[in-house]
């Protein structure tokens, strides 16, 4: 049993027990995903915190793909650049894969590739995959898939994984399909037995059972968002498939089949419609929100570009709708299967003209769930589009997480007047600010009584929803919209702050969180530098964000984009704080690792 009384000691020691990363290089479409997730799940089931990142191409089959599994007893979830255990299954990239790893890396590879001649400082483990596969699987058709399970067996033996846990993981992954389970287990056993007899020993690079993941789940952010929307009572979903967001709606479709059906009739209480494009999807969101549904879409940057016209309409005409943006790499088509935080700016201001949108920035799986739920309350409370700004790293990768807590309480449907309420009001104006919070009262089409109808338009209008080109009407309107946006400060999630009052501040958001957490440990333990950390979770910025910056001379703003888009937003609202902000940027299309934050902060302080 591993004991880790003093975490700082573990970092300094060379021991890689429960602290290592595996990379598997395969060919896209070869069915390796199942094998990789079995490997990851096994470590998870053994109680060791683990994350899995799939670095995949924009392609169906044939191009190289890499899967990184990081085990960390300290719970670090960021991408780690150093690889301890490399599995080379792709002849196309084998040479590069060998070249990129550090000395001492264990290299499992297909024997005929003869990689051992390339370097002398690695631990080579040539595996006769073909022979092992042929012996364990007589059907040639299935051999390609089973081959991946052989490396699971080899790795399991070399890393001291519990074979029973591997079996459980296979069962979970193959959803109880008995024949497939047996076939895969046989292949794992073949790899395991071979490794027990032939593989080199790797002392210190292994998994020792722990209990750090007890009670946890493994989930991806898109599934978490789908669950959040379902529990928020979403009733209309309009979408157009786009990587990396498609699985938000696909997962929602699956969940809705079980949990959003009228038990008596089998009919759905949730309308999910695949539209002809993102523009039409946004149109449905707006039309449904206008007519009283809880409506949403999920898309990525190119979709937000296309939807911007409707988003501007919804902002100006004050119509609710939730937009989940799973950011990829732009501009244009960019790198569709890689991650960034390049949509921070467009989500804040999508549309021409003066616009400001409520944005939520989840940084964990629990927040993907909670914020997708909260977005519906906010969009109806504020009668304006609300963005959940996720990214590919959160959305499509596998994360260990605490189980989600049930969101208690009624849904907040906002200021909606029914016939009875209308009858009691003398002078109702759709766009009048009677409460002084910038939020008017709305009515829904179909409300009887003859007093609720109004005309919605994207052109100029006054407090009574009448067409107006009067300068003061326009100015009053956009000023009220800004006031309404600022009212949201009291409703959006406050930032998460940690630290002990260091003058060195770090500000980040979204998927950069794990890298910042790890970077702060490295800064303190290796470089003797303390830091305070604030994680922004929403726009508009709450006072805590501004106070944090104001209290420090230097705040490093960590972002995964080129143009420091979050820093620019902070500067827009608080120009006087601009000189305190120091961008720390990572934008090579991979998920941000901790070391780049450490390096950039150290460089800035030289």
């Amino acid at each position: 049993m591993l004991t880790h009384a003093d975490p700082s000691k573990t970092v300094e020691s060379r021991s890689r027990v429960n602290d290592f990363s595996i990379e598997v290089a395969t060919v896209n479409g070869s069915g390796s995903q199942t094998a990789n997730i079995v490997l990851m799940r096994t470590i998870f089931q053994m109680g060791v915190p683990v994350t899995g990142k799939n670095l995949f191409p924009s392609n169906i089959a044939g191009l190289p793909t890499w899967f990184q599994i990081r085990a960390s007893h300290r719970g670090y979830q960021a991408r780690k650049q150093e690889i301890d255990f490399m599995i080379c299954m792709n002849p196309e990239t084998a040479k590069e894969d060998v070249a990129k790893v550090g000395p001492g890396t264990v290299l499992v590879y297909d024997e005929p590739l003869k990689l051992d001649g390339l370097r002398s400082d690695l631990v080579f483990c040539p595996v006769p995959f073909q022979r092992l596969v042929a012996a364990s699987c007589p059907e040639p058709k299935l051999q390609k898939l089973v081959k991946n399970m052989v490396y699971v067996g080899v790795a399991a033996q070399m890393l001291d994984l519990d074979l029973d846990e591997v079996r459980i993981a296979i069962g979970k992954q193959l959803h109880g399909k008995q024949k497939a389970i047996e076939l895969n287990q046989t292949a794992v056993q073949a790899g395991y037995d071979w490794a027990a007899a032939e593989a080199p020993r790797t002392e210190g690079l292994k998994v020792v059972r722990d209990h750090l993941t007890d009670g946890q789940i493994i989930i991806d952010g898109n599934s978490a968002c789908a669950l959040g929307a379902m529990f928020a009572g979403v009733t209309v979903v309009a979408w157009y498939p786009i990587t990396p967001s498609s699985s938000v709606v696909e997962t929602l479709i699956d969940y809705a089949k079980d949990h959003r059906k009228d038990p008596a009739t089998g009919e759905s209480t949730l309308a999910i419609i695949q539209m002809e494009d993102e523009i039409a999807s946004a149109g449905v969101v707006v039309g449904a929100g206008w007519a009283g549904a809880r409506s949403m879409t999920a898309t990525s940057g190119p979709g937000i570009s296309l939807m911007s016209e409707f988003i501007g309409l919804a902002y100006f005409a004050e119509i609710p709708g939730v937009f989940i943006d799973v950011t990829r790499v732009g501009p244009s088509t960019g790198l569709p299967t890689r991650t960034s935080q390049g949509d921070t700016g467009i989500c804040a201001r999508a549309s021409h003209g003066d616009t400001l949108h409520i944005c939520l920035y989840p940084g964990t799986m629990e927040e993907c769930f909670q914020f997708s739920y909260l977005a519906f309350d906010l969009t109806e409370r504020f009668q304006t589009p609300v963005f959940v700004v996720s990214d590919l790293d959160l959305g499509m990768q596998n994360w260990a997480s605490r189980p989600f807590a049930y969101p208690e309480g009624p849904l907040d449907r906002g200021k909606v007047l029914d016939a009875e309420a209308l009858a009691a009001i003398q002078d109702w104006g759709r766009y009048q600010d009677v409460d002084g919070d910038g939020i008017p009262y709305r009515t829904l089409p179909g409300t009887p009584g003859g007093r609720g109808a109004y005309f919605t338009r994207g052109s100029g209008h006054n407090g009574h929803a009448l067409y107006s080109e009067r300068p003061e009407d326009y100015r009053n309107l956009v000023d009220r919209l800004k006031a309404k946006f600022m009212t949201a400060k009291a409703f959006v999630p406050k930032p998460v702050v940690s630290g002990t009052g260091s003058p060195r501040g770090i500000l980040a958001y979204g998927s950069s969180d794990p890298a910042v957490a790890e970077a702060r440990d490295i800064l303190r333990e290796v470089h003797g530098k303390d830091s305070d950390y604030l994680r922004v979770r929403a726009l508009p910025f709450t006072d805590e964000v501004i106070d944090f910056i104001r209290a420090r001379e230097v705040v490093y703003v960590v972002e995964q984009n080129r143009d420091a888009q979050m820093a620019a937003l902070i500067r827009d609202f608080h120009p006087e704080l601009g000189t305190r902000l120091r961008p720390v940027l990572h934008y090579d299309s991979t998920a941000i690792p901790a070391q780049t934050i450490v390096d950039q902060i150290n460089a800035a302080e030289k």
Binding site: T235, A280, G292
Partner: protein, 345 residues
């Protein structure tokens, strides 16, 4: 209500025609669109539409301004250019009980709106979709639209050389179950078509030739009042027997084809052109193309087919409007979340 000597006529809901009007039109005096608005008001009155159950939708353009001019007690939505179809689809999903009235134009629907127009028909979204078709962009002061005929000219003399798009034959190709063409100068025919469209379920398309008096009513225009009057060839004498009064006499004399509409109303068509069969969309489409070649403007019911599945059938939705579902139905309980979590452990 104060008593008057000659009582104002009311409909089955006890509403007067005045209850169906909107604000004053700001279109040019004599605009064809205003004549269409009058017929919409009349049809809504006669069909006993509950104003609060009507959604008036439009895109951008002169035609798209018109929902402000009818049914002041209905909710209106003047949205974005060419994309009212998607807004309508969203509204129809949120509240399946709404009666959707969509006013569009040739510029709105046949250019930027083409994709949504096509897909709306494919989904058979329940809506009366009116194209107020003048062959020209009015609000931007007189450029050609995609329905302008070859050889038609702008006011200052430019000649259109591109072939026109025909929303009606396109809709027929797509399987739209109700396709009609009318002329804003033929209020009697337009009135019957509108009532029949309101009695229909699914997408009902009405292309109404509606001259632009300011930019496209000149001598060499093919969308002028004069040109439309000279070339209009009604296909049928239309009659309408409303659902609430099967005895009411509104049927043209002579041999007539009858169509039973989903709400119980009946549409009667006494053919003027004997060889035109509005239930055979392919033959009818050919007739329309050939007539166009001859310079004829065929009006009336171009195609009708009742009984097709609508958006709501395709979606397998509950009968209650989505917007009216309570939390207890839309928000699953803690036991559901617990089960979802257990699957992920």
């Amino acid at each position: 209500m104060p008593a008057t000597t000659s009582p104002v006529p009311t409909n089955k809901l006890g509403l007067t025609k005045q209850d169906y009007v909107g604000s004053k039109s700001t279109l040019c005096p004599g605009c064809g669109h205003d004549a269409i608005t009058s017929q919409i008001i009349q049809a809504a009155f006669e069909m006993n539409l509950e104003p609060h159950m009507v959604a008036k939708l439009s895109g951008i353009g002169c035609s798209s301004k018109t929902p402000a001019y009818f049914l002041a007690q209905a909710w209106g939505f003047n949205s974005v250019h060419g994309r009212a179809a998607a807004v309508c689809t969203g509204a129809a999903l949120a509240n399946r009980n709404l009666v959707n009235l969509l006013a569009s134009g040739d510029g709105d629907s046949m250019s930027i709106g083409m994709g949504q127009f096509v897909h709306m028909i494919r989904r058979n979204v329940p809506v009366v979709y009116i194209i107020e078709d003048n062959g020209v962009y009015g609000l931007t002061k007189g450029q050609f639209s995609a329905t302008a005929d070859v050889g038609s000219t702008l006011k200052h003399g430019d000649v259109n050389e591109l072939p026109p798009l025909d929303p009606c034959t396109l809709a027929m190709e797509l399987g739209c179950g109700f396709v009609a063409r009318s002329f804003s100068g033929n209020p009697k025919q337009l009135g019957v078509i509108l009532k029949a469209a309101l009695a229909f379920r699914g997408t009902a398309l009405i292309d109404v030739i509606s001259p632009c008096v300011t930019f496209n009513n000149h001598e060499s225009s093919t969308r002028s009042y004069k040109s439309a009057k000279d070339h209009e060839l009604p296909l049928q004498d239309l009659g309408f027997v409303p659902y609430y009064d099967q005895d009411e006499i509104d049927v043209p004399a002579g041999e007539a084809r009858e169509v039973d509409l989903p709400d119980g109303s009946r549409l009667t068509l006494r053919a003027i052109r004997e060889d035109f069969d509005p239930t055979d969309r392919f033959a009818a489409s050919r007739e329309i193309h050939e007539a166009r070649e001859r310079g004829e403007l065929l009006t009336g019911i171009l195609h009708i087919e009742t009984g097709r599945k609508t958006l709501h059938d395709f979606m397998h939705m509950v009968a209650t409007p989505m917007a009216a579902l309570p939390d207890s139905v839309t928000k699953p309980g803690p036991e559901v979340l617990a089960a979802c979590m257990a699957e992920l452990m």
